[in-house]
């Protein structure tokens, strides 16, 4: 699937006309700069996406506090293959376009419920895509974003110590204790 097809497919899922997407591809000028490489991606945008997936709750801070955007960029740059990097970068572009097509605004300007609405749709789309894709094909870009968010958040200092429980030097191991609703151990 090339980017245009992906865009079209996504647009259909979101209930946006394909024509609109094509107009955009044909040169409708975006409010945000088009992304060509990982470096172009605004870390703040990734922070906000991550913070929508794992926001602050009564129990623990959100992914933004864990500097999730910076983490995502580091891992994609160093640990992703070229094809995975391309999927990620194209995906962020796609997300920005969809956002403008659907809400006529940048993601970072959207209120929480609109952000959740958009990402929930992408999450559903990603699950469907991953189930039907060929094995050698990279995951849907939103799955990448979500995986990076979960991994990065729960291994960050705020995620590991506030959402989960992290004990660097336990001092002992007890095999059997009562459980009364506490967070899980980090590992």
């Amino acid at each position: 699937m090339n980017r245009r097809e992906a865009l079209a497919a996504t647009a259909t899922l979101l209930g946006v006309t394909i024509t609109g997407a094509q107009i955009f591809l044909n040169g409708c000028s975006p409010a945000e700069k088009n992304i060509r490489s990982l470096n172009d991606i605004d870390t703040n945008l990734l922070d906000e996406i991550g913070d929508t997936i794992l926001p602050e709750s009564a129990a623990s801070p959100g992914a933004k506090v864990a500097r999730i955007g910076e983490f995502m960029k580091t891992i994609v740059a160093d640990c992703y293959s070229e094809i995975e990097q391309k999927t990620f970068v194209d995906g962020i572009n796609n997300l920005m376009i969809l956002c403008r097509e659907t809400y006529n605004d940048n993601f970072t300007n959207l209120p929480t419920e609109k952000r959740l609405e958009l990402l929930t749709k992408l999450d559903t789309e990603a699950s469907a895509f991953n189930q039907s894709k060929k094995e050698e094909e990279p995951d849907h870009y939103f799955s990448m974003i979500k995986q990076l968010t979960l991994w990065g958040y729960f291994t960050s200092e705020p995620g590991a110590t506030k959402a989960l429980r992290y004990v660097p030097i336990p001092g002992r191991y007890d095999g059997c204790i009562d459980y009364t609703g506490e967070p899980a151990w980090l590992y």
Partner: protein, 575 residues
Amino acid sequence: MLAKTIQVNSGGKEKNTYDAIVIGSGISGGWATKELCELGLKTLVLERGRDVQHLKDYPTMMKKPWELPHRGRMSNQFLKENPLISKAAGFGEDTAHFFIEDKDHPYVQDKPFDWIRGYQLGGKSLIWGRACQRWSKYEFEAPAKLGYGIDWPIRYEDVAPWYSHVEKFIGVCGNKDGIESMPDGEFLPPFEFNCVEKHVKQTLLKEYKNRFLVQGRWAHLSQPNEIHLKQGRGQCQARNLCMRGCPYGSYFSSNSTTLPWAAKTGNLTMRPFSVVHSIIYDELKEKATGVRIIDSKTKEVTEYFSRIIFLNASALNSNLVLLNSTSNRFPNGLGNDNDTLGKYIGFHLYRGFVNASFEGFTDKYYYVRNPTEGILANYRNLGKQEMDYVGGFTTFSAAYRTRASQPADKPQLGADYKDAISKPGPWEMYMYMQGETVPKKTNHVRLSETEKDQWGIPLLVTSVGYDDNDEKMVKDFLEQSQEMLTKAGGKILNAIDNKQPPGLDIHEMGGVRMGRDPKTSMLNQWNQLHHCKNVFVTDGACMTSTGNQSPSILYMTLTARAANHAVEEMKKGNL
């Protein structure tokens, strides 16, 4: 042969002469060093890798997860350049510095074989699995009795006191369970089972006559004794980050224990960056007189001399050293009159993995992390042939709580989602196998006739593969493990034959096997080369058969036994 252009720096024979030379500083080399130094021998340790000092050279030991730039993952470029070593158990951003890089140490594979190496002072003792079960009488007796190998020249009774000697010094936690197929040792207190492990243990006792799931017997100081405190080691803090190097010296390694202990005697000289080229054989004296090394950085050749030599270069490298130690007397490798050198290579079957989920027990949890795993002692072919294959297998097992998931009808992102997946989820339990393999003549290593390493030493060719016996054992393990977990109320999630190549078990053994008959074996009952008695081989290369227990502690045990024998023989003037 050495290139003519290389100058041999003899360094003055006297200056380069010791009572003993130990080749390799890993788990068995460290033990040879400790025993020989304690027994008063001026000992030179030759280590091909760099120096690694306890604590000082453990750069990641105190790192928190978020302090690792990629949270444990290696870069894509590294993985592309190192497809072999990055497969190793425990390999990651926090431990990579204790493993080789592929390009530095090539070898030739006739058949797929993953040769995992850690070239530094301490060798793979820094990154070993730490399981320390004793061999049973069955394993020593089975190959000859049941017709799948030559007889071991020793029995359980010969090694039992030496097992004790080693266990007391290194510290092994465990429970005395009184199981014949896995004898008790000198144990420090065990780590507890959790509620699901207890439940499965009880189920197996009820459902089967001879299936004993017991607490891990691991080289951890769960409660240090005086000897361990004297070594400067402290109590295990249950971090379970052993492979980074332990800040408390709580798990056993050469670096934390045997090498510093040996150094205290004043008898130890260590020479890192020393790639052994060959053992020097003197045809007039009819014994080995020393070791020829190549400095890994300067490529300078030096010879060192001694009365006895302990070869502990790691199983396959000890084969390589002997194969490359040729002379008029031994044109096919030192001690190799019968063409068995490099043959009868074995390994452990690690292909089977089964896991299951368990309902219930959700009011129970555990406090942080168990640094050990449970052991289900071998229950197959004990003393008699029962199965359609030979040998047995040990099963390692542990239960744990997964992370909770958000119910499918609720949002899979957002604050509720985050809170939900921060909780512990259902219990799961896994079992994986460590199976005996049959050493066969066809499973062998040899020297490449054409290719050499960066020091001019022939590359090792590995020709080691699976056979039908292995296939049958994997099948039996998978069936039985599913049956056991199901009987205990588990729902099977996976039952996998991962088909991984041999070698990834990091339990390669043999090639310089012990035996009663010099016509069919390389080493006698004291690990001496039959035909060159002042050379002792006491690492994995010496193994006559593979058994099904974790082998490292047997290497340590055989080493201590052989070292004491060597010194007795020296005193008698026999060596």
